[in-house]
């Protein structure tokens, strides 16, 4: 299936969870947040939350700022 990851098209196997996607992208979860179709997904739901075809996935990270 196809998803959009920060505006980039990405091919994923079906039943891929948010946690699996992050592993695949080699991202550490500390300081990371994720919204799917503009809804923020709670960190504790990442292992179970399955991505759906055509999901618009946006990843955010903590950076420095005043």
């Amino acid at each position: 299936m196809h998803i959009l990851l920060n505006d980039q098209p990405l091919q994923l196997s079906t039943n891929c969870s948010v946690s699996e996607l992050l592993q695949q992208q080699q991202l550490v979860s500390e300081g990371l947040a994720i919204a799917i179709n503009n809804t923020v997904i709670s960190k504790r739901c990442w292992p179970e939350h399955k991505l759906q075809s055509n999901d618009n996935v946006q990843l955010f990270q903590i950076v420095t700022g005043g």
Partner: protein, 255 residues
């Protein structure tokens, strides 16, 4: 001790983490300033760029992380940013800031109040960056904000307490901590804010953009302590005419 919501802090200097040349320098400035609260921002991840290890050293320092909603132009965007920040850092503490105008970065009072009301209901500890408007600060307090953060001058302008007269009214009326945010360009500005009775100050540019940020962080810490002590000691009133400090005897005059 500074108390915000249920937490107490020994330090009354809050640090912004932006604009430091390196994250090591930022960590050293944190140590030099003894600050216990530091602001962070959230932005979209750039894929294929390594994640920098910003948080691990801060976690070790046992410092309260205060994510902001910088970049939000509306209440709706700020609430989205707040929810992202809460997940990213696993904290419900939030510096709410909504400034749609890129030239002066003035906070939008209407969107800020709307967002604050909703974020408090969503369980956030809300510290709003706001204009130095006594009525607005009171409304934010009534909405349940844990503190108010009125500006001294425009963000990054280093102009000091341009809003001094309004800050005095805000401090006089406030039932929550008043943290002077933005525009403090020199330790003397921070000391002046504390002498007015501010609960704390937040400084970023004046420290981070100094040629020696670590020494400047220490200088601000000293100024904040001095200003607070002076406020507690009780500042004397100003007089129009001279009031002598030595006895005005006439021993020089011929008897």
């Amino acid at each position: 001790m500074l108390q915000i919501a249920e937490k107490t802090f020994d330090s009354r200097l809050l640090l912004g983490s932006g604009k430091f040349a390196t994250s090591q320098l930022m960590q050293q400035a944190v140590t030099a300033s003894n600050c216990q609260l530091i602001t962070l921002a959230i932005k979209r991840l750039e894929l294929n760029k390594p994640q920098d290890d910003l948080l691990a050293p801060l976690r070790k320092m046992d410092i309260q992380l205060l994510p902001n909603t910088s970049g939000a132009k509306t209440a709706q965007e700020a609430i989205f940013a707040a929810e992202l920040a809460r997940e990213a850092l696993q904290t419900n503490w939030l510096k709410l800031e909504i400034h749609p105008d890129p030239r002066y970065l003035m906070p939008d009072p209407i969107e800020t109040l709307l967002a604050a009301e909703q974020l408090v209901k969503l369980g956030f500890i809300v510290l709003p960056y706001c204009s130095a408007d006594p009525v607005l600060c009171k409304r934010l307090e009534q909405a349940g904000c844990a503190a108010v953060m009125p500006l001294g001058a425009a963000i990054g302008s280093n102009q000091g307490l341009q809003t001094r007269a309004m800050l005095e009214i805000i401090i006089e009326q406030a039932q929550v901590p008043v943290i002077i945010d933005a525009g403090l360009g020199a330790p003397s500005h921070a000391a002046a804010a504390m002498e007015l009775g501010a609960a704390a100050v937040l400084v970023n540019t004046a420290i981070a953009s100094s040629s020696d940020p670590v020494a400047m962080a220490a200088a601000f810490a000293d100024a904040v302590r001095a200003g607070r002590r002076a406020y507690l000691a009780g500042l004397v009133s100003t007089e129009q005419q001279a009031v002598g400090s030595s006895p005005l005897t006439d021993f020089l005059a011929a008897r």
